[in-house]
Symmetry: C2
Subunit: 216 residues, 2 copies
């Protein structure tokens, strides 16, 4: 069964999925990198993001690897694709990830400002959509060919899909940091009322990994 | 050095320190007991709360024991003392904890509705105060005789002391449960801006124990 899922999504102790003031210098907002400490040293992220050998195994790497497993399409919010706001001045921004992004499948980017499809090396195809979350999800499911659709973020995008009860499973990594400001993942969302409960909790040295699942 | 501290204070993944609709039947609000799963089976809580032998040792018990160590006085919000709202109809409510409460030191209860001091068995003396957090803290410090003052809760009380930067250290236990509604500990408080940062993170099988400390 294909799933719609969020995975390897980090939040701070005070519930923020990104710091404030995202910019080219701070893609995750101020202080946001601290959220991802658990992920950065894993074998999976070292390989997928940086093309480097090495990195660590263990619990963090297990969750990192699971996050990329069997993903057939992604959906991203526009701010996860880049720091540009408003209309695109030109087509020079091609994502944070260089010429060969770590997706390797169709990636749907939600934005009010459409632009032509961007075909990258390694199979990543960024397609820009200005539509309802249900519509883009339908399209992503078709593109995924029976594999999972991963909602990559950011926070605002995950919250839209959560509020619409469209996500089957979320793996969150609670990082032992305080951000104080930023984008709050849970604020105003009553997850139990939306059908979610915590079904797994696995601590590593660097984060508390939890899995939330929507009850049928 | 004496400290003002919060300890063994549980929060849900979505940031609630108590569930909604506190009542005589649900002292911690609906779903609130799930927050304290890590504590209930510890040797410390079994002894302190229930006067029973046994209970488990380990990481959870270490934190439970630390929470009671060297405490000379407590401050509680009125809702932590009981479910009665508004003026006291009489003096029959004497706390949730029976005749011999687990405090054994002076306990200051913040309330708009004063009532006479209540001297219980075992050294617990409930004293009711309607004053500024700084004033009750000054009084609690004098009563503690050089030992720590513990801010017991609930959420609203901890938030008042945090906002005033009066707490030196907080031990929080993040429980792998979702509450969805209730009293949010962090909402609208920028802890790093108030001087707090996470200095310790120790997972057990049942909770992520974190210690937040105010920088000098």
């Amino acid at each position: 069964m294909m799933k719609v899922r969020v995975a390897a999504f980090s939040i701070s102790l005070d519930g923020f999925g990104a710091g404030p003031e995202q910019s080219l210098e701070n893609p995750l907002g101020k202080g946001g990198f601290g959220l991802h400490d658990w992920a950065m040293s894993t074998r999976t992220f070292q390989t997928m993001l940086f093309g480097q050998e090495g990195g660590e195994g263990g619990i963090d790497d297990d969750f990192a690897a699971r996050s990329f497993d069997n993903v057939g399409a992604w959906i991203l919010g526009r701010n996860m694709f880049g720091p540009v706001r408003g209309p695109w001045p030109d087509e020079s921004w091609r994502g944070w990830w260089g010429d060969n992004p770590p997706y390797h499948v169709p990636v749907f980017v939600l934005t009010h400002h459409l632009r032509p499809t961007l075909t990258m090396a390694g199979g990543t195809v960024f397609q820009f959509r200005n539509c309802d979350v249900r519509d883009v999800l339908d399209e992503a499911k078709r593109a995924a060919g029976g594999r999972d659709v991963r909602i990559g973020g950011g926070v605002a995008t995950v919250r839209q899909f959560l509020a619409a009860r469209l996500i089957d499973e979320l793996h969150l990594a609670v990082a032992p940091v305080l951000l104080g400001r930023g984008e709050a993942l849970f604020a105003g969302l009553d997850l139990p009322a939306l059908g979610y409960r915590c079904v797994e909790s696995t601590p590593s040295d660097k984060a508390l990994h939890v899995v939330l699942r929507k009850e049928a």
